[in-house]
């Protein structure tokens, strides 16, 4: 989009610049903190025709007028009053009605809340290079490190993790500050290598430091021998959690509240295990347990929803010495697992590796279809499926990463398939990065699936 000279002129005028940014900030603040009802009634209602949401609605930067798009009412306002800037009340972006375009390329506008410190910020920051903005780089295989690199690719492309390290939340407080001695520091270094300019040394420095650090903690996870990717994820999650406890000088929460470290904030949910008496419906033996991921049985299942349905379905519990505290019956109770709490990231493990009674390990290779958007609302209620009118909670998660395993139990290879910037999929195979279509991504023989919250209604 071509540059807007009109706003440029305004921002270069010292007399009006601060006021303009202040007005913009206040408007954005109000839009961000209003109830949906207020937003609809006031910011999305056209001052001229009084219709709500007739296309987008724009709030005038210079007066109290708000005008709609569809009936060109703001356009009229802009020509009669010569007020050419409108703030879209849905997306908070500024539109120039002379250029007929949104203004997106002015950093000062995009970060208008930072106006006061702008000079200082310009001095101490670098704009990232265009070719590094998506973090499309692989990790050289240093032995059998694919189980590590595929997990890392998921993490360094996850917005919560990237934000955590970009805002230096670990770095600022860590006393060790050494990527070969602290796992969080090494992950921090990897994020910096991936997205930032590599000052001296190599792109691989961060990765090598992590292997070095992992070796000191647990030889198994240093990449000399193939390990299970899910176990590595759990190992890394544990390290990040412990590092948080160390830098924040916190012990484990004793009041039952949830840990606020980046890992628990992202992944932790809770499962309710309901045990209901089949005679009197007493549910006092119901317990709730936290979880960091869900492991799903895939035998004879062909879709992810089938696996989740099976996980959630109400069953009679046999071989369980039940004694009802209310009616004293010993009849088999019914059991049901339902989701009580969800983190913004939902990790699902498809149980592909089975340990048989005779000591052998076998891999289940059946293809399990998984959706781009996963609605887990129905798994958060008790009882059966959905209510008659199809209503009920809607909790939609978006698929962002797939870790797949190719090969046998003992000799296999892990690959990560990640969704980058809204709509493109990339395959990360050790040091090789290649683009693939959405169709192809959906055909992966998935082992681990990572969904991120998209919308809750």
């Amino acid at each position: 989009m071509p540059h807007c000279n009109h706003i440029e002129k305004v921002l270069n005028d010292a007399k009006v610049k601060d006021n303009v940014l202040k007005t913009f900030n206040i408007t954005k603040y109000i839009l961000g903190h209003s109830s949906s009802c207020d937003k609809l009634m006031y910011t999305m209602k056209c001052s001229t025709c009084h219709e709500i949401n007739a296309g987008s609605n724009f709030i005038c930067l210079q007066c109290e007028y708000t005008g709609c798009w569809n009936h060109s009412h703001f356009l009229e306002h802009s020509t009669t009053k010569n007020h050419i800037f409108g703030i879209n009340s849905s997306n908070q972006l500024m539109y120039c009605f002379k250029c007929q375009d949104y203004i997106g390329d002015i950093d000062l506008l995009n970060s208008s809340f930072l106006n006061k410190s702008w000079d200082d910020i310009q001095q101490h920051t670098d704009i990232p290079q265009l070719e590094k903005t998506d973090g499309l780089s692989g990790f050289v295989n240093m032995g059998s490190t694919c189980f590590i690199s595929s997990i890392l690719q998921f993490l360094i492309h996850n917005p919560y993790i990237v934000n955590y390290f970009m805002t230096q939340q670990h770095h600022n407080k860590c006393q060790i500050k050494d990527p070969t001695a602290c796992m969080s520091c090494s992950l921090d270094a990897i994020v910096a290598d991936t997205y930032g300019s590599v000052k001296n040394g190599n792109m691989d420095d961060g990765f090598i430091s992590m292997l070095n650090c992992a070796w000191k903690i647990n030889h198994n996870f240093a990449g000399y021998s193939q390990q299970d990717a899910h176990e590595f994820l759990q190992f890394l999650e544990n390290q990040l959690h412990n590092d948080y406890k160390r830098v924040e000088h916190r012990g484990s929460a004793t009041d039952g509240s949830y840990c606020k470290c980046i890992i628990h904030s992202m992944f932790q949910g809770a499962l309710k295990s309901s045990i209901i008496c089949s005679e009197c419906n007493d549910g006092s033996k119901t317990i709730t347990d936290p979880f960091m991921d869900l492991s799903l049985d895939i035998k004879d299942k062909s879709t992810l929803y089938e696996c989740l349905d099976s996980f959630h379905k109400r069953e009679k519990l046999h071989d369980y010495n039940y004694h009802c505290p209310q009616c004293s019956t010993t009849e088999d109770p019914t059991k049901q697992l339902s989701i009580e709490k969800l983190g913004p990231v939902l990790s699902l493990q498809l149980k592909r590796f089975e340990h048989l009674a005779n000591g052998n390990n076998v891999k289940l290779t059946n293809f399990v279809e998984f959706p781009l958007y996963l609605n887990v609302g129905k798994y958060c209620t008790d009882g059966d499926a959905v209510s008659a009118d199809g209503s009920g909670q809607s909790i939609v998660y978006e698929l962002t990463a797939i870790v797949s395993h190719k090969g046998t139990v003992n000799e296999g290879h892990y690959i990560a398939t990640i969704k980058i910037s809204e709509d493109r999929w990339f395959r990360f195979n050790d040091s090789m990065v290649s683009e693939l279509s959405q169709q192809q991504a959906l055909q992966d023989e998935a082992y681990l699936l990572f969904y991120v919250i998209k919308q809750v209604q």
Partner: protein, 93 residues
């Protein structure tokens, strides 16, 4: 439909909380139908083909196609919801 009548009906829809409900349901459907991804792809293609185009011109090209691409089933469901609400509030002669 007369603009002021439409505005009145919308007012009632918002005040009763139904506007939000219907809008949220529609949003859900469009997401799960894959419509949002489709329209995004169309838009990206349009932008790629003419780097100097502005928002207004791109919208003019995309909007009719996007409206057309909405699943008929989704359109029908949302219309039914709106109709049901109107039957309750609007007096017909």
């Amino acid at each position: 439909m007369e603009s002021s009548m439409k505005a009145q009906i919308q007012q009632y829809l918002v005040e009763s909380g139904n506007y939000e409900k219907i809008s949220a349901k529609l949003n859900d459907k469009l997401l799960e139908d894959g419509w949002m991804d489709q329209v995004r792809r169309l838009t990206m293609n349009e932008i790629e083909s003419d780097k100097s185009a502005n928002f207004a011109s791109i919208l003019a090209k995309i909007e009719p196609q996007a409206l057309d691409l909405v699943d008929q089933k989704t359109k029908d469901e949302v219309m039914a919801q709106i109709r049901a609400f109107l039957d309750e509030v609007v007096e017909t002669e």
